[in-house]
């Protein structure tokens, strides 16, 4: 190694000089940079993995909105699309309330109507045949009875359509006529047959025989097949 010109004595003397070292901080910085340069890069995620979170959030939002709208529609349906509840009693007065509800369209019949029917059945034979839908129908639903009767036909395919028409139409007419009569009748139309009879009975007790007779006649017209209690048959 440079044998011709390298002076060993000079080299030895040079090595006796201060052996200066680089600063430790410099060592650390360089080694850190060197390690960082060969540090394995984190494995890249597949594109679909990168979209997992956003897609999950979007799916949750869509599902939540859809369910909310469905629940709202379900809640609004009994108000706007309630099946007829007035026509069925006219055709099946002797049937049990549940059967009447089935004729009128069981899926749409309010649960309160069934409970009311059970309650009336427990009151005695006079009110036992009372149709459930009549009790549940609000007064405001009178005007829409006829359309509801049509709806009843569509939801009760087991019964012949002609029979349904015959049963529903008279009842609707009767209700319409009752709605046009005296205030008492109007109130009665909105009430259940049992309540109506109770009102008539009350009129009798108060001595309003004439009015009671008119109301009773009106009742008979509305519910020709309804079996009247003994005290109201005279």
């Amino acid at each position: 190694m440079n044998e011709d010109f390298r002076d060993e004595q000079l080299s030895r003397l040079y090595r006796e000089a201060d052996r200066i070292e680089p600063p430790r901080a410099l060592d650390a910085a360089i080694l850190a940079a060197a390690r960082e340069a060969v540090k394995p890069a984190p494995p890249r995620r597949a594109w679909w993995q990168a979209w997992t979170l956003p897609m999950g959030v979007a799916a949750t939002v869509v599902l939540t909105v859809t369910l909310t709208l469905m629940v709202q529609q379900e809640q609004e349906r009994p108000m706007s699309e309630a099946p007829p509840t007035q026509g069925a009693p006219a055709t099946a007065p002797q049937e049990k309330p549940d059967a009447a509800a089935d004729l009128a369209g069981k899926p749409a019949a309010p649960r309160e109507a069934k409970q009311e029917a059970v309650k009336r059945e427990a009151e005695g034979p006079a009110v036992a045949p009372a149709p459930a839908p009549e009790t549940a129908a609000p007064a405001g639903a009178v005007a829409s009875r006829a359309p509801m009767a049509e709806s009843a036909k569509s939801v009760a395919p087991a019964r012949p359509a002609a029979v349904m028409r015959q049963q529903a139409a008279p009842a609707a007419d009767a209700v319409e006529s009752r709605a046009k009569s005296a205030p008492l009748r109007k109130e009665a139309v909105g009430a259940a047959p049992a309540q109506w009879l109770e009102d008539i009975r009350e009129m009798k007790k108060q001595g309003k025989e004439k009015e009671a007779a008119e109301a009773l006649a009106e009742f008979r017209k509305a519910y020709p097949d309804y079996r009247l209690p003994e005290d109201l048959r005279q």
């Binding site: 190694m1 003397l13 006796e16 000089a17 200066i20 680089p22 600063p23 360089i30 060197a34 394995p40």
Partner: protein
């Protein structure tokens, strides 16, 4: 683990992702490269900057590293280029004066023998060594670089020529002039 490996093998291992290989390589050469730079630029601040730049250049060049020469030759070649840039930036025309000053070639033969290693002379030799460093730093840039490549890098004339971009004869001439000047300086000190 890396102790028995050559410099080139360590650099290849680092190229392939072995950070520990680089650390072993760094430990081998950190002091010598640093002194090589410090003796030439004369400033610890500049030496620090150059030292870091050179090592980072090697880190960044690892992917293209092939064993075309000794690692030390490659490293000092990078150092040489970085020093040229430094001199240019500092406006030092001295680097350009790569004169070989062929006036004292015969001094080698006249250099006295080294002093006997006597304990009482250790302090004196220490002071003498520091004077030698000062004379090294006073050498023309090309001669200084050649001398330091020989001493710190332990490069052969061929390797010095490769590192500095000159032919072997030029490198030989520069080294000879540097050694003669230093011997003459030491002769005056004794």
């Amino acid at each position: 683990m890396h102790e028995g490996m050559s410099d080139e093998a360590l650099m290849l291992a680092y190229r392939d992702g072995d950070a520990a290989a680089f650390e072993a390589l760094y430990r081998r050469w950190r002091s010598r490269l640093y002194r090589h730079l410090l003796r030439q630029c004369g400033s610890a601040a500049f030496a620090d900057e150059l030292f870091q730049d050179i090592w980072l250049k090697m880190v960044n060049a690892r992917k293209g590293y092939e064993v075309a020469a000794k690692f030390s030759t490659w490293m000092f070649r990078i150092a040489h280029n970085r020093l040229i840039d430094h001199y240019r930036a500092q406006g030092r025309a001295a680097m350009v004066s790569y004169d070989d000053d062929p006036g004292d070639a015969d001094l080698v033969a006249d250099l006295p023998a080294a002093a006997t290693e006597q304990p009482e002379r250790l302090v004196e030799r220490k002071a003498l060594a520091q004077e030698l460093v000062k004379h090294i730093e006073a050498l023309p840039a090309a001669q200084r670089e050649t001398f330091l490549l020989s001493e710190e890098g332990e490069l052969t004339l061929e390797e010095i020529a490769a590192a500095t971009g000159v032919n072997r004869e030029t490198a030989k001439s520069r080294l000879r002039y540097a050694v003669n000047k230093l011997r003459a300086a030491l002769k005056d000190l004794r």
